[in-house]
């Protein structure tokens, strides 16, 4: 396993087109608490990398930085060749709609809407027309195995069912990058197997860049490379 702390700055200028995500001299702090001091990181396009580490070691912060949900205190983050640290809030949101499928650790589905409607939202934001939205949502619901629950309101679902819906929502816009923050944490063995099957190289995920934070060794074993953070943030 590689150690996150030993990642060094590149010795020559990077060809950003080869990488889905590049971090250069990234510093992230919350007040006096510093999560990353001078982080360099490159994620090749089409690779699957897992990040393991204890709770409170900054794994979710890293996912949020990749997705542009949090800004670095200093440094540059380039995603699919675009410097997201220079984008304003709206440009970032529009970029995310087409580039990143996110399964966050915290619940972000809209509880008042059905699973179907929640899956339709990213496609609407990506300006996909209504017929194509319907076809794609049906396809993903079938593949993830939650078609039968599609008319259920999210507020009535169990934590595991919500997690599966969240996973389906991340896939629906067919983004080149998937960022998954503890995707199997709340799932029962049957649901976990579905997610593992999709991550193992299903049509829905093949060719995508996947970055996953996890405590689940089965998920980490699927990754081409596993990184580990050992320290908790003081």
């Amino acid at each position: 396993m590689a150690q996150l702390g030993v990642l060094k700055p590149p010795t020559r200028k990077l060809d950003y087109d080869k990488f889905s995500i590049v971090l250069e001299h990234v510093r992230k702090s919350y007040g006096a608490s510093e999560v990353y001091s001078d982080l360099h990181f490159q994620l090749l396009r089409g690779t699957f990398v897992a990040l393991m580490g204890p709770i409170g070691s900054g794994k979710t912060t890293m996912v949020n930085l990749f997705a542009g949900l949090e800004r670095p205190t200093a440094g540059t983050i380039v995603v699919q060749g675009e410097d997201i640290t220079k984008m304003d809030t709206d440009a970032l949101a529009a970029f995310r709609a087409k580039t990143i499928g996110l399964v966050p650790q915290a619940q972000t589905l809209v509880p008042e809407l059905t699973i179907y409607e929640n899956l339709e939202l990213p496609l609407y934001f990506a300006k996909v027309d209504a017929d194509a939205r319907r076809r794609r949502v049906d396809e993903v619901l079938d593949r993830v195995g939650i078609r039968g629950d599609s008319d259920r309101v999210v507020g009535s679902l169990s934590v595991g069912e919500r997690q599966m819906a969240s996973f389906a929502r991340a896939l629906v816009a067919d983004p080149p990058i998937l960022l998954l923050d503890e995707p199997t944490e709340a799932l029962d063995p049957l649901m976990s197997d579905v997610v593992l099957g999709l991550l193992r190289g299903d049509n829905m995920t093949v060719g995508k860049t996947i970055f996953v934070t996890t405590h689940d060794k089965r998920v980490a074993d699927l990754a081409r490379r596993t990184l580990r953070v050992n320290k908790k943030i003081p």
Binding site: A67, T89, T108, E112, L113, Y116, F125, A173
Partner: protein
């Protein structure tokens, strides 16, 4: 409320429902627009040109402030939802459009109903009803209400969602 799948307005309706815009919200907008328009129509037939201009301005300000207050309330109730929607790609423009479209639709309906109710009330109060001036008054009141609703929604959503 069950949404039909894939119709051309479903996307903005789903966004509006995500923001917890309910029938009650639409009802408030429609009723305020109708009440203001009806009163304005009755008064317009009884005052001169300057008075009419002032009255249309009052209509505009009243409706705009109502729409702005409604949208600010929606934002305050839904700030976490806005953040969640942004995380999956919602821009200020898309969110504003969804809110603008739905609120404006009910605002227009309320203003039109109120204007025609005002014409009926004027007739009931014995005012003379010449067709052309009456039509101009109705159009002026409905147009002022719609423009005011749009302005109010814009002011109500733009500043807080940008932050």
């Amino acid at each position: 409320m069950k949404m039909s799948r894939g119709n051309m307005f479903s996307g903005s309706s789903i966004v509006a429902r995500s923001l917890k815009v309910t029938r009650a919200t639409y009802g408030v907008v429609a009723i305020v627009n109708a009440a203001v328009a009806a009163n304005a129509m009755v008064a317009l037939g009884r005052i001169g040109l300057v008075g009419q201009a002032v009255l249309v301005s009052v209509v505009f300000v009243s409706v705009a402030l109502t729409a702005m207050a409604v949208c600010t309330d929606i934002f305050n109730r839904s700030s976490q939802t806005v953040a969640n929607l942004r995380s999956i790609g919602a821009t200020t423009g898309i969110l504003s459009y969804a809110l603008m479209f739905s609120v404006l639709f009910y605002g227009l309906g309320g203003a039109a109903l109120g204007a025609f109710a005002g014409v009926g009330l004027s007739a009931g109060f014995g005012a003379g009803l010449a067709a052309l001036p009456l039509l101009i008054d109705v159009l002026a009141v409905v147009a002022a209400s719609c423009a005011a609703t749009a302005a109010g929604v814009y002011l109500g959503v733009r500043a807080p969602w940008r932050s």
